[in-house]
Symmetry: C3
Subunit: 207 residues, 3 copies
Amino acid sequence: MTWVFVLDHASVLIFALSGALVASRAQLDLIGFMFVAALTAVGGGTVRDLFLDRNPIFWIAEPSNIAVASLAAITVFFTAHRFESRLKVIVWLDALALAIAVSAGVAAAHALGQTATITVIMGVITGCLGGLMRDVVCNEVPLVLKQGELYITAALAGALAATLALNLTDVVWGPLAACTALTFALRAGSIAYGWHIPVYKPRPPRS
Amino acid sequence: MTWVFVLDHASVLIFALSGALVASRAQLDLIGFMFVAALTAVGGGTVRDLFLDRNPIFWIAEPSNIAVASLAAITVFFTAHRFESRLKVIVWLDALALAIAVSAGVAAAHALGQTATITVIMGVITGCLGGLMRDVVCNEVPLVLKQGELYITAALAGALAATLALNLTDVVWGPLAACTALTFALRAGSIAYGWHIPVYKPRPPRS
Amino acid sequence: MTWVFVLDHASVLIFALSGALVASRAQLDLIGFMFVAALTAVGGGTVRDLFLDRNPIFWIAEPSNIAVASLAAITVFFTAHRFESRLKVIVWLDALALAIAVSAGVAAAHALGQTATITVIMGVITGCLGGLMRDVVCNEVPLVLKQGELYITAALAGALAATLALNLTDVVWGPLAACTALTFALRAGSIAYGWHIPVYKPRPPRS
């Protein structure tokens, strides 16, 4: 059992919960919940595996990922009405899943001996694309590109830190844990305290 | 000539007709019709082939699929004004194409010796993704996720039945025919009679 | 250094500029600029490489493409406010990038010995999909499918001309230059003078 295996399953579980909650906002049926949950859960890792020509892709190699996503969808279908603010829960689950998925992407690329540049990019892709697909398909404003929030930036910072650390040490779990912690901390700070980096502003017209 | 070949061509033809009709609603030109028709027609099977690492993908191996989609687009361009309700025709063509494409996906995965789980999933993906791409690109409400209708559920039921039957018999055409019939019957019942499974409903606030 | 290498980098640069300008309209931050720029810049070529099973895909083989896209995004972030009409600049950059990317797609497929049909299709895909992804993700009306403009048609004409010429001569740069010139000329004529081919029009109801 490798780190990629563990991290993929963990991010699949949490992304699936977030996807199922988005499905609840669209008032889909149980199979619709499973579809959106699975798309969100495996979307980023699937693109990563296609780009890296990992073969078979992770959820064909380990269909337990699909079982995890389906169970998450079923659980949410029967319990989502208990949450007062589903949107808030979605945003926080998405933040946690993002942080874990970035680590999974870095770990997978590192295990294949990819260069630092590609390792960082695979971390960002694995983290960001599942949520982006969920939001495009369900016609929500993509969290990934929400103005004035750290999202891709958080993923990029975590992936950079992990890749740097992996080149300095032979231990794998340390850099991956640091990646997850840093990505989550930046994203959480953005959600809770409005942390952000400057956004583009067109100059006001001269008076 | 294999079942996958026949089923791919049949679903390409019918999905292309539905895609071209969506293009007519957007009042595109002839080349726009061909683009949307081809995207709809080969989208699901292309994703299936990328996921299964079938190489070359089906329409590179058999470019006749592209010819079929193009001819369908041209035909619709010059005849669509004859239909009174294009939306109704789109929905019914889409239902038929879905039913055939699910069979094509199951047949392709089965021929590669995939497990039952992956075979079912490939049926659903092949059936559902072409129409989803068509609707996302053309900015229509995705039929796939329309609330209170059987769509993915119909595809899943058909794919499950076919996969089960393929494991019980050596005949291939029987399970595939049953898959197409079951998927179409469920989808048609949903369109015509409103068949559906329960959708998620948030509890009403306590009074 | 091959033609594919040069053309990929050139289209990456110009598509990245257009993507970053779209990011400026959404008022994203610097990392958001880089994400949208990279998506636009490498989207079409990535799909081409996945379909053709080119391995590794071009920006993993040549990460300098990512550097080019990132630098373009940074430049635009600090200078976009100087342009009076960003939308107009986006449309013209997109036209130039389209013309170059079609050539890159044709060159890549030709170098792999693909048939004429597939070579033409790869030209169109490489040219059109990056801009389509940019517009879908950023929720803009896709330029690709804008009614009454030559876009896919321009790409198709350029790709057809180049593929035909490549089958008549052993020189590669000539057909590719002609492809870029023809695609750009048609697209530019459409933008500047409203050139178009007939769009679908439903018959008016009989009175």
